[in-house]
C-alpha cells in the first residue's frame, strides 16, 4: 500500500494512514539522532529537486535520508541547471527519475508536484509547491502535537496569524478536521481563512473565528502561530498596526494553561519574541527537529513499503 506511493497532498491521506505515519515516526525519533543502525535505505538514492530556496525542509529531508543510509542527489543554485535553459519540469523529472529512487520536489508553481508525480515512474514527495500543498509539514505538525501533548483527540487548538495565504495552516486545518478537535482561528479580518476551507472543515469539527487571542488563550492546548507577511499590506503603517496585534506576548502565557504548547512552522520574525523561547510551552524548535524522524518514516514507507 505504501510502496511507491506519491506524497503530494495531505488530502490524499486517510485518518488511518496519517496515524500510521505518526506511529512510524515515533519509532524513528531515537534514530534521528544516531542514524538507523541497519541503514535500511543504503541502496537507495533520494533526489532533491528544489526549484525554490528552502532551509529547513531541504536540510531535514537530506538529514532524514542520510540517517536511513540513503544517498542524496540534488542541485545547488538553479543557475547551474538546465532549468535556466528553459527545460520543462516534465523533462527534468523524466531525467532525474532514471538517476534516483524517489524525487523530493519543491517548486514555485502550485500543482507542480502532482504534475511531476504523473510523469515520474518513481514516487514523488511534495516538499511545498508555491502557496499550495506541503504535506510533510502537516504530518510533522500533527506528530508534534501528538508527541508533545500525548493525544490528537479532544483538544482545543488555536491557529493565529495569516490564515488567508498561509499554506501550512490550510493543510493543517484540513488534517485536524479528521480528529475530535475544537478549532479556534485567530486573525485580522483581512487575513481570515478562505471561505471554501472554512466551509469544508466546519462540517466536520467545531470552528470559531476570533480577532483577538485574549478571547480564547486560556482554553487552548495548542497555539500554532504563523507569520503575517509585510507584502500582504500595501501600507506599511497598516501592516505594523495589524501585525502587532498578532504578536504573542508573555502576558498571554500568564493566562494560558501550563500544558499549552506553542508551535510555529518557522521562520519567525517578530510574532514570537525570543524571551518566549525559554518558556516550557515553546515547542517550535522541537517541532522543526521532528521534521527528521517524520521524513525518515515517510522515506522508509514509500521506498521499502514498511
Amino acid at each position: 500500500m505504501w510502496l511507491n506511493k506519491d506524497i503530494v497532498s495531505i488530502g490524499d491521506f486517510s485518518k488511518e494512514e496519517i496515524l500510521e505515519v505518526l506511529e512510524r515516526s515515533e519509532n524513528m525519533v531515537s534514530y534521528a539522532k544516531t542514524g538507523h543502525p541497519e541503514k535500511p535505505l543504503r541502496d537507495k538514492i533520494v533526489a532533491t529537486l528544489f526549484f525554490e530556496p528552502s532551509t529547513r525542509t531541504r536540510l531535514s529531508f537530506e538529514s532524514a535520508a542520510m540517517r536511513m543510509g540513503a544517498g542524496i542527489l540534488g542541485f545547488g543554485a538553479l543557475e547551474s541547471t538546465s532549468v535556466v535553459k528553459g527545460e520543462t519540469l516534465i523533462d527534468t523529472v523524466r531525467i532525474v527519475e532514471s538517476y534516483s529512487d524517489v524525487i523530493v520536489i519543491r517548486h514555485p508553481m502550485e500543482g507542480a508536484a502532482r504534475l511531476a508525480s504523473e510523469f515520474a515512474q518513481v514516487p514523488v514527495i511534495n516538499a511545498g509547491d508555491g502557496a499550495g500543498q506541503h504535506p510533510t509539514q502537516t504530518l510533522l505538525d500533527l506528530f508534534t502535537i501528538k508527541r508533545e501533548l500525548g493525544k490528537l483527540d479532544n483538544i482545543c487548538v488555536g491557529i493565529m496569524g495569516d490564515l488567508k495565504y498561509g499554506r501550512t495552516v490550510h493543510s493543517l486545518s484540513k488534517a485536524l478536521s479528521l480528529f475530535k478537535i475544537d478549532l479556534h482561528l485567530i486573525s485580522p479580518e483581512t487575513l481570515k481563512m478562505p471561505k471554501h476551507i472554512l466551509k469544508d472543515i466546519s462540517t466536520k469539527i467545531k470552528v470559531q473565528e476570533h480577532e483577538d487571542l485574549e478571547e480564547i488563550v486560556q482554553d487552548l492546548d495548542v497555539l500554532y502561530v504563523t507569520r503575517i507577511q509585510k507584502e500582504r499590506f500595501p501600507d506599511p503603517e497598516e501592516y505594523k498596526k495589524v501585525a502587532g496585534s498578532y504578536y504573542l506576548k508573555t502576558s498571554h502565557l500568564q493566562k494560558a494553561k501550563k500544558s499549552l504548547i506553542i508551535m510555529h512552522p518557522l521562520p519567525r520574525v517578530d510574532e514570537i519574541p525570543v524571551e518566549i523561547d525559554n518558556y516550557p510551552q515553546a515547542r517550535y524548535f522541537k517541532q522543526a527537529a521532528y521534521g527528521v524522524p517524520v521524513r525518515m518514516a515517510i522515506l522508509d514507507l514509500i521506498l521499502r513499503g514498511e
Binding site: T88, I90, M109, E110, A112, L115, G132, H196
Partner: protein, 156 residues
C-alpha cells in the same frame, strides 16, 4: 413536440436545438460555441420564452451543426439543465440533458495564475466536480476551487 407550437421560431430541418437554457444565458451559450457574426448557417435565438418546466427559458437552434462532447460539456458548465435535441429531416433523432462530467480536462483554464497548468509545461488543465448545485470545480493540480462567474470567465 407540442411545446414547439408556442415558440416564435421555426422548426429546423437538420441540426441542433438547445432548449431549457436558463433564461438570459443564450448569448453566453453562443459565445462559448464561438457563434458570432455570420457563421454561414441559420441560427435562431429565443430569449425569455415561457416554459412549463422553468417558468422562463432561452432556446437556440443551430442548423447544420452537431455539437461535440467538449461543446456539450461547456454548455453544461454555464447552462445546467439545458436539453439537446439532434434533428434530422425535421425529426428529433436524439434528445438528452447536458450533464456536467465528474472529471474533465481542457474545457476551462484554472483561475489560479500560479497554477502549473498556466505555466509553459505541456499539460492540459484538469478539474474535478466538487458540487453540481451550486457548481464548484476543483483544479486537479493546484486544488484551487472555482465557482460561479469565475468558471464562466475561464472557459477556453
Amino acid at each position: 413536440m407540442e411545446k414547439e407550437k408556442t415558440l416564435k421560431i421555426e422548426k429546423i430541418k437538420k441540426g441542433t436545438v438547445i432548449d431549457h437554457i436558463p433564461v438570459g444565458r443564450a448569448l453566453k451559450v453562443l459565445k462559448i460555441l464561438n457563434i458570432e457574426g455570420d457563421i454561414g448557417q441559420t441560427v435562431s435565438i429565443a430569449i425569455h420564452v415561457k416554459s412549463q418546466k422553468l417558468g422562463l427559458k432561452d432556446v437556440i437552434k443551430i442548423e447544420e451543426r452537431i455539437l461535440d462532447s467538449s461543446e456539450l460539456n461547456k454548455i453544461a458548465l454555464i447552462a445546467g439543465g439545458a436539453t439537446i435535441s439532434i434533428v434530422e429531416d425535421y425529426d428529433i433523432v436524439n434528445k438528452f440533458e447536458v450533464e456536467i462530467p465528474n472529471e474533465f480536462s481542457g474545457i476551462i483554464k484554472c483561475s489560479n495564475p500560479k497554477c502549473i497548468t498556466n505555466s509553459n509545461e505541456r499539460v492540459k488543465s484538469r478539474f474535478v466536480t466538487v458540487s453540481k448545485k451550486p457548481l464548484i470545480l476543483k483544479c486537479h493540480y493546484c486544488e484551487r476551487e472555482m465557482e460561479g462567474e469565475e468558471i464562466e470567465e475561464n472557459i477556453i
